[in-house]
Each structure stands twice: as C-alpha cells, then as structure tokens.
Amino acid sequence: MIKVRIQFSRNDSLKFLSHLDQQRLFGRALRRAKLPLAFSQGFHPHPIISFANAMSVGMTSSCEYVDVGLDLEDPSEISGETIKKRLKKSLPKGIKILGVEVLPKDTRSLTRLIESADYRVRCIGLHVSDFTQFCENLKNYESKDSVVIKKRNKKGVEVEKEIRNCFDTISAQKDGLDVLFNIRVLPESGSLISPELIIKNFLNSINYYDKGLVLEIHREKLSLKEIHDQPHNGSQKTAQVDDGVELLSHEVQE
C-alpha cells in the first residue's frame, strides 16, 4: 500500500457537512474516480482515509489535508496529477483539490503533523461601540498567561480547562457590520480546539457575548510540520491560499 496526501478546500455550499458526511463523501468520490483503493482488514472493509483534522458543521476552509491509501506497490506507479484529474471530476463543486502528493513509504500520519491552524472567524453583526478599546482588551487577553474555560466533558459534568496553550495569536478587525477575528490555534496532543470556544470566552470576559451571536468559521491554513521537499511528478506541494479564497466567492454552478 502507498499513501497519497490530498490538499483541498471546502466552500460555503458544503459547509454543513459533518465529519462523517465528509468521510462518506470522499469515500464515494474516490470510488467514482476508480482509483485503486486500499482497504482495511476485517468484516467491514473500508477504504483507508484519514483527515488531518475534523471539520465541524458550518466550517469552511482554504486548506485541508487527507491521506488516502492506494493498493499499489510503489509510489512511482501513479502520479499526483492523474489522481487530481480523476478526483476533480468525481468531487462535488464545493470541494476543490489544491494539490496531490504521492508520499514516500514511511511518512508519519497526518494528525501528528499539525503545527498550527489559522482561522478567520466572522462574528455577524457584532456591535462594538469602541473598537480601539475592544482591540486593547483583546491584546490583554492575548498576553494572559492563563485562560481557563468551563466545559462539559463526555459525561456531561462541567470541568475547567486551561486553554492558553491551545492558541497562539489573536487579533480582530472591523468588516462592515461584522467583526473578523484572526486566530492561530495550536494542537494539544494532536487535537485542535474550536476557535469558537476562545472567541466566546473572550467576548464573555468583556460582557460582549450574546447567545444569538452567529459565528462563521473559516480555516485559512493548516500548517504541517514536515511536507516533503520532493513532490512526485510535478504535483503541487503547498497550498495556494489565494486560490482557495477565490473559490469561496464562487457560486455553485447549475
């Protein structure tokens, strides 16, 4: 089995997919693309597909990664370009392939590779009377050594969680009637917390939070620790973030 790493974006038209929906979508798109998929062992064999990070319902992204196992002996048997071409036809319009890299054997699994995730979070219609003061508050928040949030665990019991080590920088700007946050989230034992938690916590701390507030979360970039320097057969290595942004305004064609 060899592995290929696919970089893709997801736009507004597919933002309501759950992680499971997206897994299903890729599984079926890969089958439609007639790629030589590798399957897991056992009674219910399924294609080997693993995403760098789950996308939550409502989220869009310019930069996601998924690793797919192919039933081939050697990476030289297929090119990233071939895979990209076939997948392009079989994926719905809301998902765009940005690059495909055929990985050398022994590459580490994706989730362990995440270095950071950059988000742009739009707070729709968030009214801020004094924006300079607001930014000042945010600066203070960012420079704190400890940020503790209350969270329900799986058993439904409320627990406290230190999250300051879960994000790096956070900033805000005004955009028409909305406020846009830029935030860099850092992984903690392989998982990323939702930027929503951080922003809501901040807004709460300055009494700006209102239950009806709608957030639109967009992942600008997932940075990986090591991407190989020698992509196969001209496949793209890094994300063309501009490309992804352009895609976001691109309506689904009828």
Binding site: F16, R28, P45, H46, V57
Partner: protein, 626 residues
C-alpha cells in the same frame, strides 16, 4: 402571483437547525436546469424527512424519468423537521425545493408519494407550509396541481379533499402521458377543471372531485359514482408490462448525510408470487415481473460508477424468488468483492434462502439476518397463507449459524384473524427453537454469541387483501396479547420489541377509510399532529379530539367487520384481481386452507386476463416457469 425564491432567507435560518445538510440540496447527481417559461416545473414531494424520503426507490425512478425530458425539471421537497418548520413559519419562508429553493407553490405540479397512511398529516402540513390552499376546491390557476400516487393511492379516499388527481398503479407508466396532456392544456390554460377533465381521460387517473358518494343510514356507502361524463365509473390500475424495456436511472442522487437505506438499492423484480393474505403489496403489485440478469448487471455497472456506493441491495418484495437469484448473486459478488462492494438482499423468505447464497453474501457483509415467519403456529400460518414451516425456518437459521451469523431478527404479527392465545405463545416457542438451533450448531463453526430479536407488529387489515373485510382487534386486546407474550419470554437470548397498538389503530382507520375522514385529518393537523409514524411525535389524545370534534367514529372504520355486499370505498378501483378471488381467499383462510403460489400454479386471481405481452408476466406465460 408568483412567490419569491427563498434562497437567501433559507441560508439565514440554516445555521439554527439541527440538520442543515438535509435542506441544502446540491448533492452529487442532483439535477439543475435553466428554467424558461415553457418548462414544466415538477416538485416531487415525500411527506417525511429527507433521510426517509431519499431512501425511497420510487422517488429516484420518477426523478430520473421526468428529468430525462428536456422541458421538465423535477426537483425534490421533503417534510421539514419540527425545528425547521418553526423557523420557516417564523420567517415566512414557504415550502421550497432543494434544487432551486423555489417555493413549491410556483410549480406546475406538486406530486406526493404515498407510502404509508401515517404520513398524511405531513402531507397536509406541507401544503400549508407551501402556502397552497389545503383543499382542492379552493385552489386557483396560481396554484400547482397537487397529485399523488404510490401504494397509499390504492385507497385514495381519505385524501380526496386535498388531492386534485391520483395516479392509480405504477406511475412511470402514466406520468409522461399526463405530462403530454398538460402540455396540451398549457397552450390555453382555461380552468383547472378543464385540465382535470382531460387527465381523467387517461387510464389510471382518478379525480376525486368528479365522483359523488351517498351514504346509508348506518354510515356505509350507498352509492359511489361519477358526476361528470369525463370520469370513468371504474379506474383501472396501470402497470409496467416488461421491466426490461422500461426506463431505469443511470445514476441516483447521492446524499451527503446518512439516509435510512444508505446504499445502492436496485429493483430486480416487481410483485411477489406468494399471496400472503394480510399483505397488500403482494396483491397490488401483481403480476410478478422479473428483470433479466443481463439488464441488472448492465444497470448496476453504470449506477456503481456514477454513485460510488459501497453496498448494493437487490430490492423487491421477495428477491429470493428471482429465478436467477443464485447465479446473480454469485456473479455480482465475483465482480464487486475485489473492490469491496457488498451485495445484500433486503428481505429473504425462509424457504428461498440457500446455503450458497448465505456463504456468498457473507464474503463482504455480515450484519444480522431478518426472517419473517409472521405467525407462531402452523395453523395460523396456514390461515394467512404464509407457506413456510417451522422446519424450514430452523433449517435456514441452522445454516446461517454454521456460516457464523449470530444475530437473527424474527418478524411476527399479533392480532391476525382467528388468532388464539396458543398462537401468540407459539411466537415464543419459535424463538426458543431458533436459540436451540444455535446451541445445536458445531461450536467450531458458530458465532460466539447468539441473539434472537422478536418484533411483533399489530395486524392492520388493508384494502385489496383477502382480509379487507376483517375488523381489527381493540387496542386493549392488542396490549393483552403483547403482555402475554412479553411475560412468557424468559430466555435471555431473546429480545422482544412490539409496536404501539394505538398507532396501528389509526393506521387501520385511514387504510380503509373514506372521504369523510378528510375533515378529521385537517382537524388533527390543526391541533398540531405531525410525523405520526414517529413514536415520539404521535399524539393519540389529539387524534381522539380530532375524531370527536369532527363527529367521526374511528371504530366504524377500524374495528367493524364489513359485509361482503357492502360497497367498499376503494371498490371503484380495478387492480386486476377480482373481488370474488379475494373473498374466496378469505373463506379459505377461515377454514385454514392454503393456496399455492404463482410458481406452482394459477389460483385465477384475475391478473392473467390483464396480461397482454408474452414475456415475463404471470408464471404460466413466463419463460421462467418451473
């Protein structure tokens, strides 16, 4: 006046609902066209949520069939779940289709699929949400034609107030003819009535407003007759003669979210040769027709390529009866096993299940096995003409256990005509014998564990069955028998599930109801009844109130034993099977006399008269005759 497209309004509320993905459309293989003035806009409506409606094969066939026509755009609409409904009402958003988010009121047709009676309040609700007058007589040229078809249309009368016209029988046979008539009418769209008159000229079309019903003092029907010369006194069911020649989709819309049947269902035959006396589908889908193995393989190849599904289900009422089923399965498993696509049968008859088939299916799929003995004793199985013996069942499950399956589901019915307590307790014995069969299986072969799940539904007498005259048991009596069974089951390997009898009672009312139920349905909807088939949404008290306020006694429809000479609300429909045959079958049932299935001989149900072509129809004309 056309309503505005609701795309933007919908986007705003989707953030607030539980399953937004079920309202967004745009799935792979969904059809998008550029509409112009001449295009016929057809909203295919399923009166239940997306996940249920998208599992329905008929909808996929009609979607494909209509969209093949350049000047028709068929789109889908489903019943919004309660959270969505609330937001739609709050924000003044009318019911819309998934593809174009166009309000359904702007369409030429709104066509409902009637799969079960308990979806009827959803149908009324969808009309209301669509800003379409609920009752046919109040609609104007601004409204779509509200049409309906499917097995529920075999007794269309409870919906007579709401539906402009019904398609009786298999819609793919009639729908394009109806579209031709519509194109003709649309050239000069004078009045709604004119179109309905033209449509009533087609075989298989029923326009309820063209008929007048009179009643006797005791509430039974005195007369049922056309009130215009355009309407036929008897409406004949339409059916496809040759499944190999008809249209079948080359792709299906692939949902993003998990649907109830999230797999590639493919219809390999239509109808069922067995003639179980409680079963409506077994009668109304006669004659039995098969699809050729070559056509099946060819269609599946395209469907798999275009959808990417990981499981194929060979669908029909009784797929084990396809004459080529074994070679078909072997063949398909050989083709699809290497790419890990499973092949399954949705339902199996006990006698048709062979060891080979179990083995083949197990290669890629290992869920549970579901079998339906239906009744607990041989006596009662003879009454209902379920021609399987307990030995057959035990033999089948023993094979299954040897193949390593451990979970067996058994379906039974409680309250079948002539049922005694002994029959009810027989269900327990059957389940115990299945458990015994597991322990009799070689330890090396069998699964580590065994579980037998017994499910009982409550018998509902249905139109066009030999039991159409029978009264249903009272809910109290159903409960007593369920308890009797529940308390008798001591074996921990057996799990017992049962249906709510008050829901089955309501089902029985609507299954054999007449047009006087229209006001009850409307009242129940006004009181807030929705999603009645969902046990946590079903409100028996509200229904009780609706009956009382409408002055309609539900017992009259559900519990009453009907006379043979009574005019039944569905008597004007000719499904090809004679009433005399059904009566004879009923009388045979009462003396525990069985009938043979179509494979073994012809019992002269009447269907043979209807068969024109020489191929594939009724066994004694078929190349598959055994």
């Amino acid at each position: 006046m056309k309503l505005n497209n609701c795309k933007q309004d919908v986007e705003v509320i989707l953030n607030k609902v539980k399953k937004p993905i079920t309202y967004t459309g745009n799935e792979v293989n969904s059809v998008h066209k550029k509409p112009d003035e001449n295009m016929i806009r057809f909203a295919l409506a399923f009166p239940d949520i997306y996940e249920v409606g998208m599992s329905h094969l008929g909808l996929k066939i009609l979607y494909g069939l209509l969209n093949q026509q350049d000047d028709i755009w068929a789109e889908r609409t489903f019943a919004p779940w309660k959270d969505m409904e609330e937001l739609m009402v709050e924000n003044g958003i009318p019911l819309f289709t998934l593809e174009s988010t166009e309000p359904v009121r702007n369409y030429d047709f709104l066509g409902f699929s009637l799969q079960y009676e308990m979806s009827y309040t959803n149908l009324v609700n969808m009309l209301a949400l669509g800003h379409i007058p609920l009752e046919s007589r109040d609609r104007t040229l601004d409204d779509p034609f509200v049409i309906a078809g499917g097995p529920g249309a075999m007794n269309p009368e409870p919906l007579a107030d709401f539906i402009d016209l019904f398609i009786i029988g298999e819609a793919e046979e009639v729908l394009l003819e109806l579209m031709d008539v519509y194109r003709e009418w649309k050239k000069n769209p004078t009045s709604r009535e004119d179109f309905l008159k033209m449509a009533a000229g087609l075989e298989g079309i029923y326009v309820p407003s063209f008929y007048t019903v009179d009643y006797n003092g005791n509430g039974t029907i005195k007369s049922f007759r056309p009130n215009t010369s355009y309407a036929k006194p008897v409406v004949k069911k339409r059916f496809v003669e040759d499944l190999d020649e008809i249209y079948y989709p080359k792709d299906y819309v692939v949902s993003y979210t998990q649907t109830v049947h999230d797999r590639l269902s493919y219809e390999i035959m239509r109808g069922c040769p067995h003639g179980c006396r409680f079963c409506q589908a077994g009668q109304i889908y006669r004659p039995v027709r098969f699809k050729d193995q070559k056509r099946i393989k060819k269609d599946l190849k395209k469907l798999i390529a275009n959808t990417g599904y990981e499981e194929i289900s060979l669908a029909s009422l009784s797929s084990g009866d396809h004459p080529k089923i074994e070679s078909l399965i072997t063949d398909l498993v050989e083709t699809y096993e290497p790419v890990k696509i499973g092949v399954t049968l949705p339902s199996l008859r006990i006698d048709a299940l062979s060891i080979d088939m179990l083995g083949e299916m197990k290669k890629v799929h290992k869920g549970g096995i579901t079998l339906a003995p239906e009744a607990g004793t041989q006596r009662l199985r003879d009454v209902i003409n379920k021609n399987v013996k307990e030995e057959d069942l035990i033999e089948t499950v023993s094979h299954a256990f040897e193949e390593g399956w451990g979970r067996i589901k058994l379906y039974f019915m409680v309250g079948l005509p002539t049922e005694t307590d002994e029959d009810v307790l027989g269900i327990k014995s059957v389940a115990e014998h299945v458990v015994d069969a597991f322990y009799d299986t070689d330890k090396k072969l069998r699964n580590k564990n065994v579980q037998v799940v017994v499910s009982t539904s409550c018998f509902v007498p249905k139109p066009f069955t030999p039991f159409q005259w029978t009264g249903q048991l009272t809910t109290d009596e159903f409960k007593r028998r369920q308890n009797l069974l529940k308390e008798s089951i001591k074996n921990r390997k057996i799990k017992y599930n049962w249906h709510d009898p008050s829901l089955s009672f309501l089902e029985a009312v609507f299954a054999r109801g007449d047009r006087r139920l229209g006001k009850v349905l409307k009242r129940a909807w006004e009181l807030g009844c929705r999603f009645d088939s969902w046990s946590d949404s079903f409100e028996p008290e509200l229904w009780k109130q609706a009956f009382e306020e409408s002055g309609v006694n539900p017992d009259f429809y559900a519990l009453r034993q009907r006379d043979f000479d009574e005019i039944l609300p569905w008597d004007f429909i000719d499904i090809g099977i004679s009433k005399d045959f059904l009566r004879l079958e009923y009388e045979k049932a009462l003396i525990e006399n069985t009938s043979v299935n179509c494979k073994l001989g012809c019992e002269n149900c009447g269907m043979l008269r209807e068969v024109k072509s020489k191929k594939n129809l009724c066994y004694d004309k078929s190349p598959y005759t055994i």
